[in-house]
């Protein structure tokens, strides 16, 4: 069950503000600030997803990916095998919207996602990695850490 569910219109301009904010944090307080804020967001705002991963129940993470990428018209699929859950994003709605507004996507958004994902799985038996595969695409992989197998 998703902790937060949004209805109605989607205001995609918030992606631009997110991107500007990530830059602001780095420019004014350094990389550690970016990590700290994204870690707090991942572990405190998304507490139920974080706790779910710690308890080996990744269902809400999958629901979160599906619900919000569908809401924002992303092109994606989720592949599940016994040991791995893989989110394949072929066209990221956040990067696509940035490109629409500013002419190009900003890779800092992807770096932010990687930091966020790392923090989300921190302290859990899983690792959640983010691999950028193109200007608008990535693969996010949830799998058990080697030490947990």
């Amino acid at each position: 069950m998703l902790r937060y569910q949004s209805k109605g219109e989607v205001h995609k301009d918030f992606h631009r503000l997110t991107c500007a904010t990530l830059h602001y944090l780095i420019d004014n307080y350094g990389q550690d600030a970016l990590v700290q804020v994204l870690k707090n967001t991942a572990q405190k705002v998304y507490k139920t997803i974080h706790e779910g991963l710690k308890n080996e129940v990744p269902d809400e993470l999958v629901e979160f990916w599906t619900y919000y990428l569908e809401r924002e018209n992303g092109d994606f699929s989720i592949e599940k095998t016994e040991d791995v859950i893989r989110l394949v994003v072929r066209d990221c709605p956040a990067l696509r919207h940035l490109a629409k507004l500013d002419g190009k996507p900003d890779p800092l958004m992807c770096e932010g996602t990687a930091i966020f994902n790392h923090a989300l799985a921190e302290g859990s038996p899983y690792e959640l990695t983010t691999e950028r595969t193109g200007d608008f695409s990535c693969i996010q992989t949830l799998k058990k850490r080697e030490s947990e197998k």
């Binding site: 937060y4 949004s6 992606h15 904010t21 966020f116």
Partner: protein, 163 residues
């Protein structure tokens, strides 16, 4: 990706972090946000003044699903949020709201109003409630009169102006 629907809850964490860095840090951040917002509204506000503000917040009302009213009457643009979606999300949040969360709206809006050559009075009402209102005039005297009325009713701490 942080969904655009969840931007507010991320923003709330940003405010907590920046506020902890020093007393003037949030003000500096609001100035930067205001600068970024010029992209969306400065031309509209400068060229069309109160009508431009009505257009901008009408667009926001629809796209951000706001329970609010926009008014343009008797030489005054005003809005009133009955249930601000932004603070509502910051409150409906396992991380808890930043006590200064509401300050960001006047923080970015008031500098833009100055650049647009108008006079604004922002009433936060109560930082714990998702309600607020703003009144904008082209004459400073009328804005000052409105500010005085609101200060008498709500107190100085929640009334902010750009003059």
């Amino acid at each position: 990706m942080i969904p655009s629907d969840h931007f507010v809850r991320f923003y709330n964490e940003v405010f907590k972090f920046i506020d902890a860095q020093g007393p003037e840090e949030l003000k500096k951040y609001y100035d930067r946000v205001s600068k970024n917002q010029e992209y969306h509204c400065l031309k509209l506000f400068t060229e069309e003044k109160l009508e431009g503000m009505y257009k901008y917040w009408e667009h926001i009302r629809i796209e951000e699903n706001c329970d609010m009213v926009n008014r343009l009457e008797d030489g005054c643009y005003s809005f009133e949020f009955f249930s601000c979606p932004s603070l509502s999300k910051a409150v409906d949040n396992d991380a808890g709201p930043c006590p200064k969360y509401c300050n960001h709206c006047p923080g970015w809006i008031l500098p833009l109003m100055t650049k647009a050559g108008v006079f604004a009075v922002y009433n936060l009402i109560d930082r714990k409630q998702p309600r607020c209102e703003m009144f904008v005039f082209t004459e400073k005297e009328r804005a000052a009169k409105q500010a005085a009325l609101l200060i008498e009713k709500y107190g100085k701490d929640v009334i902010l102006t750009n003059f």
